[in-house]
């Protein structure tokens, strides 16, 4: 219990917030790394996932491949990449992008795949091009699952950037890695609490986003067994 009160006291100390190694700066770095990772992973995974979902091609490859990617031990990857590309942001960034790709890719292709084929056929019969079907029918209907993938990726990325402080990088992991060897458990726990709070806030915001992007028709028909969307 005393560690917990130490942690709260450490967090409450205004001297720990400003400055280059302060909480505010570390939070900013952590967010910056997270956003950068999700952007890069998104640019790679989302178009790929949409393409797999729309064409149905590459599925046999994508499913086991993303599963295998999830199994890669991130700390090992960070160490290995740091040896390959040098000490800096690039190594951990690649490792974290690899971590973020599977949930985003799965969200994208599962989202498109889950769209009722009747709806897609109806759109095609109405004269829509394949691009129009993807952009106006499949993508909007896939958004809730895609946002779910983003939530899952975001949570993992926020949690795992902590590990990258194993190398000379910023972010909230600094508090953990710097405090463990000097047995400053209050600071260590405070760092963990900050990671948890950041992850919860980010997840809450993305949950809101997920609700907002869910098309009205999908929301209305949730739980109704009929596969025919009420909006057509």
């Amino acid at each position: 219990m005393s560690w917990f009160s130490d942690a709260i006291a450490w967090l409450a100390d205004p001297a720990h917030w400003p400055g280059a190694g302060g909480i505010a700066a570390r939070l900013g770095e952590h967010l910056e790394y997270t956003v950068l990772t999700l952007l890069i992973a998104g640019v790679i995974a989302i178009p790929l996932g949409l393409a797999i979902g729309h064409t149905g091609r590459g599925r046999a490859f994508a499913v086991p491949f993303t599963g295998a990617l999830r199994a890669l031990p991130t700390l090992g990857l960070v160490t290995l990449l740091a040896l390959a590309v040098g000490i800096g942001l690039l190594g951990p960034l690649i490792a974290l992008v690899i971590l973020a790709i599977p949930p985003l890719l799965a969200g994208a292709y599962a989202g498109v795949e889950a769209v009722d084929p009747l709806v897609v056929d109806a759109a095609r019969a109405a004269g829509m091009t394949e691009w129009q079907i993807l952009a106006r029918v499949e993508l909007p209907l896939a958004l809730p699952l895609l946002a779910g993938g983003l939530r899952s990726a975001c949570l993992q990325v926020i949690a795992t950037w902590t590990v990258a402080a194993w190398l000379p990088l910023g972010g909230l992991g600094r508090f953990l890695f710097d405090a463990i060897p000097v047995r400053d458990y209050g600071r260590m726990l405070a760092g963990s609490i900050l990671v948890i709070v950041l992850a919860l806030i980010a997840d809450g915001l993305l949950a809101l986003l997920q609700r907002t992007v869910t098309p009205a028709g999908v929301r209305a028909s949730r739980g109704v067994p009929s596969p025919v969307p009420s909006t057509i």
Binding site: T79, I87, L145, W166, P168, F177, P181, V182
Partner: protein
């Protein structure tokens, strides 16, 4: 409907959360069985007429005859644990080894709850652990302070000549370009100096603060958490940093022609290898065997043993320990 497609994934969760619980129960059972067999074995050992008398300080007969040797979770500590264990075994003691327990917090706790009796340690770090305010630096001062700081029920034996201490290393090119062979030479180096080391170097008296106060060198820390491992070495070799903290028994120092800087002011904490043992296990016979081993352990021997462990040979810790014992006349 996306909402309709997701549920099939959900049922996987309950089974996968249930399984560890079942496995945990199996572990408890296995641990109980193991504990029972250890007790049974200890009983057998006690009735062995050939086994030497050990322990027995008379505190209610709570002692066992089997000496359990633990170790920290890195190869050198593991090798030393096997050196002690198999050295004692050759002298006729019943010994059990629990290698790679974890960090100091974990294996000191194991010593205190009696699940291990003996662990190879390093004087400086152990002193800092028991007394965070300790200021001793040189081998003799550290030993004297450590003997006072060790809690009741435990003791340290003789220190070995062998030291696995922090050491500041530069590349041969850097050493030649600026004429640097000692920490005292660093102040005259005209380029900014950064040091790759574990994060605690920011606060340790032999880290960044010590460079400033003892040698007048302004250095910045590049924290790398691998204890002078491959990432630290890579940062030094590719010029990201000018100095790297690498433990003195690491084979990579010689392999890469690094120059270890001298420390004329004894800023760096001494780290002689030393056995930390529960007093109830430290019978005269045990102490005699361990101190004889200690007398032969040198830094060069440790480097040689580490090279066999981390080099191409990748020999097991026990194999390395047994070969060393045989070469030094401790084999039974």
């Amino acid at each position: 409907m996306p909402a309709l497609r997701t549920p099939p994934r959900e049922p996987a969760l309950p089974t996968s959360t249930r399984r560890p619980a079942r496995r945990a129960r199996a572990h408890v059972l296995a641990a109980a069985a193991l504990a029972a067999s250890v007790v049974a074995l200890a009983g057998c050992a006690g009735s062995n007429p050939l086994a030497p008398e050990t322990g027995g300080t008379g505190d209610g007969g709570a002692t066992t005859d089997t000496i359990v040797v633990g170790s920290a979770a890195f190869p050198e500590a593991e090798i030393l644990a096997y050196v002690y264990a198999d050295g004692l075994k050759a002298a006729g003691f019943d010994v059990d080894v629990k290698p790679s327990i974890g960090a100091r917090d974990a294996y000191i706790a194991a010593l205190q709850d009696g699940s291990i009796d003996l662990v190879p340690e390093y004087t400086g770090n152990l002193l800092q652990y028991f007394d965070a305010q300790a200021t001793a630096q040189s081998p003799d001062d550290v030993l004297a302070a450590l003997q006072k700081a060790v809690p009741d029920g435990f003791e340290v034996l003789d220190p070995a000549e062998a030291q696995d201490a922090d050491s500041y290393n530069v590349t041969k090119a850097f050493s030649q370009q600026y004429g640097v062979t000692s920490l005292a030479d660093l102040a005259k180096v005209p380029v900014p100096i950064s040091v790759a080391a574990n994060p605690e170097f920011a606060e340790r008296p032999y880290g960044i603060p010590g460079l400033k106060s003892v040698y007048g060198v302004d250095a910045t820390l590049v924290p790398i958490n691998d204890g002078g491992g491959p990432n630290t070495l890579a940062a030094l070799l590719d010029g990201t940093v000018q100095l790297a903290d690498i433990y003195s028994t690491t084979p990579s120092i010689a392999e890469n022609d690094l120059v270890t800087l001298e420390d004329p002011e004894h800023m760096i904490l001494a780290q002689n290898v030393i056995p930390l043992i529960a007093t109830k296990s430290a019978s005269d016979e045990v102490v005699k065997v361990l101190n004889a081993i200690q007398a032969k352990l040198t830094t060069a021997e440790l480097i040689a043993m580490n090279t066999r462990s981390s080099g191409d040979e990748k020999a097991s810790s026990q194999r390395i320990a047994d070969d060393w014992l045989a070469a030094n006349g401790f084999a039974g």
